[in-house]
Amino acid sequence: MIDSSSTTGHVTGINGNMIVVEIDQGSVIQNEVAFVTVSDMKLKAEVIKVVGKNCYLQVFEDTTGIGVGMKVDFTGNMLAVELGPGLLGSIYDGLQNPLGLLDNKQGFFLQRGQYKDPLSREKTWEFKPVVKVGDKVRGGQWIGEVKENFLTHRIITPIGMHGIATVKEIVSEGTYKITDTIAKIEVNGKVIPLNMFQDWPVKKAIKAYRERIYPEELLITKQRIIDTTFPVARGGTACIPGPFGAGKTVLQHLMSKYSSVDVVIVVACGERAGEVVELIHEFPEITDPKTGGSLMDRTIIICNTSSMPVAAREASVYTGITLAEYYRQMGLDVLVLADSTSRWAQAMREMSGRLEEIPGEEAFPAYLESRIAGLYERAGLVTLHNGEKGAVTLIGTVSPAGGNFEEPVTQATLKVVGAFLGLSRKRSDERKFPAIDPLDSYSLYIEQMESSLNRDLDRDWTKMVSRSRDILRAGAEVGKMMTVVGEEGISLDDLVMYLKSELLDFTYLQQNAFDDVDCASDIERQVVDFKLLYRALTQDFKFNSKPEARQFFTTLQDKYYQRNYYSPDSDEFKKLVGEIEESLVSGGNSLV
């Protein structure tokens, strides 16, 4: 990787994970990768600023032991990831080092300066060509396919290739390694050999598609409060801000397990190692209902946890989104879950501070907003040149200082995402999970997807959802009023409104992540459950007194709640639904 004829330099300063390097010979490229030699180790770094003969590098490793005069070799390449079959099921660090392969040699710890090939060079794949000699191809086009776990992995031409190429040679169906030449193409008079993998710089979006299109289809997460109330579109974006312990990670883990998508990319960015360990141990054991394989078969975990180097943390989010764009290029539906984007922003802040840039609010750099916008813009639904569609949905958590959403990262994120799933400390303290605040949160997609929702779920779906939210709001108003004037100060009708909103909240918006049945609700079930609940919400009950109303709702609420714990084809479920319907028919009225 290091070519002695290329650029070299030597260290002149060290400040945390930033080093200053004076160029001895050759030219330098902004964002290129360089290696610092420290005794027998070579530490990876990235150029982040060039001033005359000096350049500033962020080192992706602990900088202990680096001294003035140490040699630096520049590679001429930007920080890139390897794209090809074998990504699924892998666990990488932020720079795409395969953590599983590092472990054998290094014992318990991640020693510095160890880099391994992200994709196996030995593994073989059953390649099937889909183009023939003489075919014209463009950049990022499918020329063959292999089976990767349970999905069809398309082998594509170089993504950044300009112009139209002609296929000169293509191998026949057979078994190949990713390093084997499987085709030759001629472009602009030059013949280039292709194998099954390629590099792509992580900070550059993959745009080898025909066009971006408007996301109009629902991404099913199986979390009721999201799918029904604050839906996210396939190819859309959402953020989950919330104070510590409010349930951001648990919610993302639920989505990573139950969302109906082809590929899930989990980016554990500057958070706890233990949380990733749970996924690593759990996912291989869980069956993906869609494929029959394990969840790990469709998942890539990027793990750059809080005690791992900060600069690699900054890169990890880009690594994740780049892998997602690659699978989108195969016409697949990809979900990226980044936890937490605040740690990514803080990594930028640390570096900005060392570069002595003029700080903005809370010492974040002035370009914070544009970086956040640039990241979320890489999500999207696209039509490829062959007419197939692919989607990248990006959902990021935000960890605002003091749990206060009026801070730079949350605010910059809110400007660009389509759905805001704000977690509230009050709800998590009261163990109302998922603690998404049903009054403050919003989804712009509900309007955008109106026709598909009303077509696929129920003719009146969006109307019913909107009405239910009105009830929730009205109930909350009554609740607030009661704290001022007491229950005796409100009318019976108001109390009923309040009880209805509680019913909706407790039996539908809240969902038990740790119950085998309640943890995930299929969209079909959500439709049935919601419609039955909607009857109670909109029924005009007649009660004689407040205690009577309370008594009625306590019993009803318990039935709806118990029903959540049974699968729809169980007898208990049917029995409870029968009882609910009976109470709704007789509810209040019979007592008149």
Binding site: T12, G13, I14, G16, V20, D62, T64, G65, I66, G67, V68, I91, G100, L102, D103, Q106, G107, F108, F109, L110, Q111, R112, F244, G245, G270, A273, G274, V276, V277, E278, I280, H281, T305, S306, S307, R343, Q346, E350, G353, A363, S399, A401, G402, G403, D429, E430, R431, M482, T483, V484, V485, G486, E487, E488, G489, P547, T554, D558, Q562, Y565
Partner: protein, 433 residues
């Protein structure tokens, strides 16, 4: 062999700067002041030949003619089995009147992180006999968990009580800015509790130089790590981590770094995380559990230190008014043991009791505002009283089993089975007849 320098150019706070060559980042230096005092210092920035060092004993009284000798390696701590029963200062010197450790292995402090793949999912419940912990937020081996406390609460007593109850193989205490009495308090309790001979203490007291605080967590954790690798179940106690964060702040201010919030450096999160993340359950070896104290300045949980800590640790015990508050408190590893290694009704009881207590507090608030007490309120008030005396009082000392039974008893004394929001089959099995 070591280069010596006698010209310090700048002294700013506890940082000194000088012209030197051949120095590496984070290298250790020993400084001998003109009056003979010595201290260790660490390189924290290099710009060409200008080298900045933080002086662990502080730069008060430092002469610009002091001798600076670079040692050629970063900070290390000695490790050996002989550490057990010993007490060291914040800079690693014995303060128990016994000789230094011999034949010890030098161990790098602040070493690399554990490969996540080499961690296992925690699974061992640590019973503390404190119901607010055992029922509502159980402690799990290898967890990292601070006690969030307003100043003046008995947090060190709580810490010591848990440490004695936890039955770890090894206890490592890292005292940061401890009052002398608190230090003696730990020592007495550990001696009386019979754990002193499996304890190592690193004690920085309030009287010691501020910068020395920075070393304590790293030394304690480096030693713990060595014991952990050898298969021991280690419990690390760090008190008070707010004092540690304040030392970070002082250095950062002296270095003229742009602060992010209330003067703390933007790297506060990473700095704290690199310490707390040392908590681990090693695959095929021992474990490190980290219990810390984070005092909340002004009782404010949104203060940068508790706030960043909350984002790093696996929950927190919220100590206010002499009680562990069920609302701010959280054990994020609880789902790994609740109902799995503990009784099947544990999860439902925990959730229901908290929900009911939240409602009870609403009723209380309502009534305190002068509203009419409904029949429902009566029930809740009764429940709140029982909950506070039977569960929240820190004097309560019972096993988890009996605490769960008491939970059912308490609920049944106040409510009907329909009012508690628990799955039917569980209610049928456990509701007192």
């Amino acid at each position: 062999m070591f280069k010596e320098y006698t010209r310090i150019t700048n002294i700013i706070g506890d940082i000194i700067e000088l012209e030197a060559e051949g120095v590496t980042y984070r290298e250790l230096a020993s400084i001998t002041n003109t009056n003979g005092d010595t201290s260790l210092a660490q390189v924290i920035k290099i710009e060409g030949t200008k080298v900045s060092l933080q002086v662990f004993a502080g730069a008060k009284g430092m002469s610009n003619r002091a001798t600076v000798r670079f040692l050629g390696h970063p900070m290390k701590v000695s490790y050996s089995g002989d550490l057990l029963g010993r007490i060291f200062s914040g800079s690693g010197q014995p303060i128990d009147g016994k000789p230094p450790i011999e034949n010890a292995k030098d161990t790098e402090i602040g070493g690399p992180s554990v490969n996540p793949i080499k961690r296992v999912v925690p699974r061992n419940f640590i019973e503390t006999r404190i119901p607010m912990i055992d029922i509502f937020n159980p402690l799990v081996e290898s967890q990292k968990l601070p006690i969030f406390s307003t100043p003046g609460e008995p947090y060190n007593d709580l810490l010591a009580r848990i440490a004695l109850q936890a039955q770890a193989d090894i206890v490592v205490l890292g005292g940061i800015g401890l009052k002398f009495d608190e230090y003696i308090g730990f020592r007495r309790k550990f001696e009386e509790g019979g754990v002193m001979d499996r304890t190592v203490m690193f004690v920085h007291t309030a009287a010691d130089p501020v910068v020395e605080r920075l070393l304590v967590p790293d030394m304690a954790l480096a030693v713990a790590e060595q014991f952990g690798i050898e298969g021991k179940r280690v419990l690390v106690l760090l008190t008070d981590m707010t004092a540690f964060a304040d030392a970070l702040k002082e250095i950062s201010v002296a270095m003229e770094q742009v602060p992010s919030n209330l003067g703390y450096p933007g790297s506060l999160y990473s700095d704290l995380a690199s310490r707390y993340e040392k908590a681990v359950d090693f695959e095929g070896a021992g474990s490190i559990t980290v219990l810390a104290v984070t005092t909340m300045p002004g009782g404010d949980v949104t203060h940068p230190v508790p706030d960043n800590t909350g984002y790093i640790t696996e929950g927190q015990y919220y100590l206010v008014n002499g009680m562990i508050n069920p609302f701010g408190s959280l054990s994020r590893l609880k789902q790994l043991v609740i109902g799995k290694v503990t009784r099947k009704d544990h999860g439902p009881v925990m959730n229901a009791m908290i929900r009911l207590y939240a409602k009870a507090l609403e009723s209380k608030k309502k009534i305190s505002m002068g509203f009419e007490k409904t029949e429902t309120d009566e029930k809740y008030l009764r429940y709140a009283d029982l909950f506070e005396s039977r569960f929240m009082d820190l004097k309560v000392d019972i096993t988890l089993e009996s605490a769960l039974d008491l939970g059912w008893k308490t609920m049944s004394e106040c409510f009907t089975p329909f009012e508690v929001g628990i799955k039917k089959d569980i209610v049928e099995k456990y509701w007192p007849k």
